[in-house]
């Protein structure tokens, strides 16, 4: 039974939805951050599936660039998290709802 394109797309949709749910119900900044990473991975799975099924290399190049963006986002986001924690002594997003101190 050969895998269909729809299976990969459905798995990607499930992962993206789980990521959205996590971003909405989590209160920890790091957990929300990891849920964002999960959503990026779901989009990557869609890209690779289309690229593999249509014999086009552009999708995998996009995945490469998305991974670079995710790495940059991880570095800057964790720096922001550390700065917030240093200022507020908390990782709760409700505590950080205002930008000023």
């Amino acid at each position: 039974m050969t895998p269909q394109l729809s299976w990969y797309l459905a798995l990607s949709a499930v992962l993206f939805t789980i990521g959205v749910v996590g971003v909405m119900i989590k209160r920890n900044v790091i957990s929300m951050f990891m849920c964002i990473e999960l959503m990026l991975n779901a989009v990557n799975l869609t890209f690779v599936a289309f690229s593999s099924f249509f014999r086009d290399v552009s999708g995998q190049l996009f995945v490469f660039i998305v991974m670079t963006v995710a790495a940059a986002e991880a570095a800057v986001g964790l720096g922001i998290i550390i700065a917030i924690f240093r200022n507020r002594e908390s990782l709760d997003v409700d505590e950080a709802s205002v930008l000023k101190l």
């Binding site: 269909q4 729809s6 119900i25 999960l38 593999s52 995998q60 800057v76």
Partner: protein, 179 residues
């Protein structure tokens, strides 16, 4: 396995367990990439995501000592069903788009091709996608500078020597940053 790890990631209260579940998701996605004949992307997935990013996340979790921050009672508990409902709507939209837009043949031709090998990805990256590649390098440079600026001890702003171009509010911020 990927879905199970993802659900476990969202369901965990401790962020460290959540991070380990997310590593499981990444590894299983890398296996899927191998089955999709994209070995380079699978290797990069394992190295960059499961290696670099998750090590960074786990390091920050250990550094910030999150366990004492999750004992508080949950506010906004009434919004959780609304979140799940909205996510169900989103998932229904995605399923609708996937299964009702049949504009393309969905059965692949499983022959051996060089799509997904490292050489073809490199050739595409340096010929037709050269400009996005360079923009990505500039983005990485900006990320390095931004992360160094943010994570520096002493707050978000430069120290008090160059107080020319700043207003009155950074004095308060520096006082908070030194504590």
């Amino acid at each position: 396995m990927a879905v199970g790890c993802a659900i476990s990631m969202v369901a965990q209260r401790n962020p460290l367990y959540s991070a380990i579940s997310l590593i499981g998701v990444f590894i299983s996605l890398a296996c899927l990439y191998v089955t999709l004949s994209a070995p380079f992307i699978a290797a990069v997935q394992v190295i960059v995501y499961a290696g670099a990013i998750m090590v960074l996340v786990v390091f920050v979790i250990m550094l910030l000592n999150v366990e004492q921050a999750e004992r508080q009672p949950r506010r906004l508990r009434s919004l959780v069903p609304i979140a799940v409902g909205l996510a169900a709507v989103l998932f229904a939209e995605a399923v609708f788009i996937i299964f009702f837009v049949q504009a393309s043949p969905s059965t692949p031709t499983r022959n051996i091709s060089n799509v997904g090998l490292t050489s073809s990805i490199g050739a595409g990256l340096f010929t037709s996608y050269l400009l996005p590649f360079e923009i990505t390098s500039i983005l990485l440079l900006m990320a390095i500078v931004g992360a160094m600026t943010l994570a520096r001890r002493g707050g978000l702003l430069p120290p008090a020597n160059d107080a020319v171009a700043r207003g009155s509010s950074p004095t308060v911020r520096e006082g908070a940053g030194k504590t």
